[in-house]
Symmetry: C2
Subunit: 204 residues, 2 copies
DNA sequence: GGCGTTTTGGCCACGGGTGCCATTAGCGTC
DNA sequence: GACGCTAATGGCACCCGTGGCCAAAACGCC
């Protein structure tokens, strides 16, 4: 229901046609967020801007908080493939790290931009809060990967720890990146990992 | 205002006396949460149970989500002291880790119990979401400590990374602990750190 | 043109959260 | 013992996000 709406419009055959798209809603919403801030933008305002009933917004996004995330389900599927592509003979941590790095290479020509999205998400309290739910799904993808490769269960300490720490490194990288978007995000992900390995270096 | 209410009642001199306490509210709230779940418990119900107006609840807790966290401001102050106590000649990571470990030694005789609190917080979606805001404050304490000890700014990559990773380890430990509260939480924090160091061991 | 299908969007109810303000109940003073 | 000061209380109105319900709309197909 929620997903079928716009995954592939051309596949639809009959029934009343859709009036809008996820992309159109996101663009309208980000226009308003830029003007009035996230909290200052009501769903009524977004609905008006899109030219659609407020009720309809909920058929495209589960909640107001989900709008900035866009089609995160698709993004997660991409991440799952990146992890699956890790060579079996590579150390586990390295494969995970390279997938996380690659995951954060976003096409620069998106609208809304990846910077705009993430700045909004990471700098707005209400969205910071909501983001955990998305992070949990993201970590779960890692935990399942690690579990599969080590024979553990996803809930065990190693898969959980790797998931949590991978997220931690990514978030540390984002934090620096948002302050200075000119830097390369994937490089910052690398730098965070190096920083951690250095910090924990047993020889010190 | 928000804090002054109950930090030290004996310090109050004049004005209408308070009708309740943070502890009383938390105990009443947890009773209801246990019966009807967090989402199923309305603020009206909590107010009734405490015997207080709904409006008054907001003078003790900023939001419904804050009730399970209790007096987190006090908890943070304790954490700050633990970090400050780390010897200067000890490796930075070790001092941070020991503080995190010590921070998670909670008195077993609390009401509500630390397990009840954390189970509610970590297993209720709405609270999982809200918890990031608390985590951010907790990480900031670490980031400031690391910044002070290394001469960096709290926003730099090392302080942020250490903060994020410390949180990651703690959360991984909690996740296992909640499934099996008989295990020692501080020991699990140690185990998570060992797991990470092993995972990243350069010799593998 | 009628029918089935699918989306739309209006209406209503609920609950959390906030500003406003009159009320309440101790304290210190006279 | 009354009076005023002060600070906490709690009722009221209101905004906003969210979800259930359902009739109306607009297409393809026959």
């Amino acid at each position: 229901m929620y997903l079928a709406a716009v995954v592939d419009d051309s596949a639809r055959r009959q029934g009343r046609p859709v009036v809008t798209t996820h992309a159109a809603i996101e663009q309208a919403a980000f226009r308003l967020f830029a003007e009035r801030g996230f909290e200052g933008t009501t769903l009524d305002a977004i609905a008006d801007e899109v030219g659609v009933g407020r009720r309809t917004l909920f058929r495209y996004y589960r909640s107001k908080n989900d709008i900035p995330w866009g089609r995160f389900d698709l993004t997660l599927a991409r991440f799952r493939h990146l992890l699956a592509d890790a060579p079996a003979d590579e150390p586990l941590w390295r494969g995970v790290h390279r997938a996380v790095r690659a995951f954060n290479e976003f096409p620069p020509a998106a609208d809304p931009t990846h910077v705009d999205r993430m700045r909004l998400i990471l700098r707005t309290p209400a969205l910071q809060a909501h983001s955990v739910l998305r992070y949990a799904e993201w970590r779960q993808v890692i935990a399942e990967h690690v579990a599969a490769r080590t024979g553990a269960r996803p809930g065990d300490l190693l898969p959980q720890t790797v998931g949590q720490v991978s997220l931690a490194l990514a978030l540390a990288a984002y934090d620096v990146w948002l302050d200075d978007p000119a830097r390369s995000l994937p490089d910052l992900v690398d730098a965070a990992m190096l920083t951690l390995r250095d910090h924990l270096d047993p020889t010190t």
